[in-house]
Symmetry: C2
Subunit: 381 residues, 2 copies
Amino acid sequence: MKKKYLLAPGPTPVPEHVLLEMALPMQHHRTPQFNKIFAEAAEGAKYLFQTKQDVLILASTGTGAMEGCVTNLFSPGEKVLVVNGGKFGERWGEISKTFGLTVVWHDVKWGEAADPKKIASILARDKEIKAIMVQASETSTTAAHPIEALSQLTRDREDVLLIVDGITSVGVVDIPMDEWKIDALVTGSQKSLQLPPGLALVCLSEKAWSFADQSTCPRFYFDFKKERKNLANQTSAYTPAVSLVTGLRAVLRDIQDEGLSNVFKRHDRLARATRAAIQALGLRMVAPDCPATSATGVFVPDGVDGGKLVKSLRDEFGVTLAGGQDQWKGKVLRIAHLGYVDTFDIIIAISALEMALKKFGVQIQLGKGVAAAQEILLEAY
Amino acid sequence: MKKKYLLAPGPTPVPEHVLLEMALPMQHHRTPQFNKIFAEAAEGAKYLFQTKQDVLILASTGTGAMEGCVTNLFSPGEKVLVVNGGKFGERWGEISKTFGLTVVWHDVKWGEAADPKKIASILARDKEIKAIMVQASETSTTAAHPIEALSQLTRDREDVLLIVDGITSVGVVDIPMDEWKIDALVTGSQKSLQLPPGLALVCLSEKAWSFADQSTCPRFYFDFKKERKNLANQTSAYTPAVSLVTGLRAVLRDIQDEGLSNVFKRHDRLARATRAAIQALGLRMVAPDCPATSATGVFVPDGVDGGKLVKSLRDEFGVTLAGGQDQWKGKVLRIAHLGYVDTFDIIIAISALEMALKKFGVQIQLGKGVAAAQEILLEAY
């Protein structure tokens, strides 16, 4: 017998009642009964995004919605600024290049945040730039970029959009779409939304919709205008992912019951507790100056093989954390704390990490990280 | 208390044990444990497609894989022949036009099948045509197109592909991908595969992969070469739809246990039973000369509002059939018999239809259709 725990930055654990709701008998998607579910999910998504705009629900992962932002808002030859501070920043640029856009790469050292001043000066120098594309939380490095500050660079300009990958941020930290005048915001089902992968959500500002009127990139499956038209009829252009949409309605009800501000407080508390534990254990954080609230990245101590550590945690302790990606493969450990996660998930993650490190020969005082986390976790009680 | 029955051409009913398997706790997708599930699903899909080629598993509906066939195999300006005998034939053309291909429309009257001789003469006249795009079963009309005959037009030519939407045919009728030398074959999860919507499967021939080497259409989310590379590592390029892939492995095991030839026989028997019932009731079939095995389309008797009939069947009798689409809205009823469907599902569909028609004032002899179906259904016992 070995109990299993999932603490990776997506997929995240799915609540039992949602798993069961998604296991109800299949129903047809072109019926008033399912239209109601779809419409309620879309309405709940507006609450999540803090917007009055339509939130589109797509049968794809978040990457599909990212592609849709590029193909629905721009035309070949147009110039966009991509904040590239990790694997997902890089993805914005790759998608843009694929569809013929000119990419101005703004490279940020992995683990660091974009500097709004530098970006302001780039925008001032180059008036052809049509958008800033950025992650609210760069999942590959666990660094957060300053979205509110970036939004101040675009909100008063008619000719530049702020396009935000909020895949590990929406429903984790406060990103009020309308208040900050974000122009495109994307999320996926398998993060804070506590669902299996397979759904993407995306919301555009009025300004972005006016860009969509001009865009000439080809798109068919990810055609946002077609989706908006279908949403007005409580459905999607192509067959909706019935069970996931049913699950989406359920989790959005839970999020509304908890209240967004409480959701944000919970995530903040879990993130601070995790960081406190990491610091108490003398481990080095990956993004100490701009830590994401969704996950905490830690450098694996010298002499320890990060791949083996992740494997031991998963297969011996039953605790799935994430390793590093690309240049940080084997060097970094990522402890996620987003979605259906609470106090004792953090206790499990930290205590497992302590035991695994000890087993790997690292000098560590068992319980020291747990105690530091407990101090903060107690705030909730 | 009202029991509900789903007999529409997708989504189809999901077996209870598959619903429960998909409701197991979420797991991380980048683990040896999930890689094994993904690889087993992909291997099972080869059996389903009757191919030695890789079958790609995408997090989208079938339309996404159709888009991928266009964007991965062709370049803007290239010419393709589209068999347009319904809503989904039209979709091949719309996608192709979206990505700058030149479409030669081959219009077929709704409810009729493409004529291979006519297509042969078009191909002989126009040597620039790079592909025939067609549905094995045109779901909107319940007509089947002659795929084997069409494959004889392309199998010996290096410069023309046969691209088949098998969304309501793969796992329903015999379409041996390799034997017939089909170049691209697509299906979706919510049809014969008895899963919720949200997965597409697509398989290319070696000839098609060589087209992919030349194609210049832009694609990112639906990048088949990237998917094939990831499949070699037992995963997909972007986050796989974990629960649906787990379900896919389960249903493919069931299909292997039943045996494809038995699966085909079962579908054929259910289709013949349904047609016999329709004829016994004196109703007029939509596609009498080329009926699909996946669903049977019937013209609604004069004086009956098809929309109201579908609604009554669904909301009063609890039996969800499909109505007509586009030009046949309100005029046609489609009874599906694909996927997790057996003898008594057909009895339910026919008996419900008889009762509903009687209720709507149609002169009908109750039980006459049921009896005709029973005669054929008895073959299995």
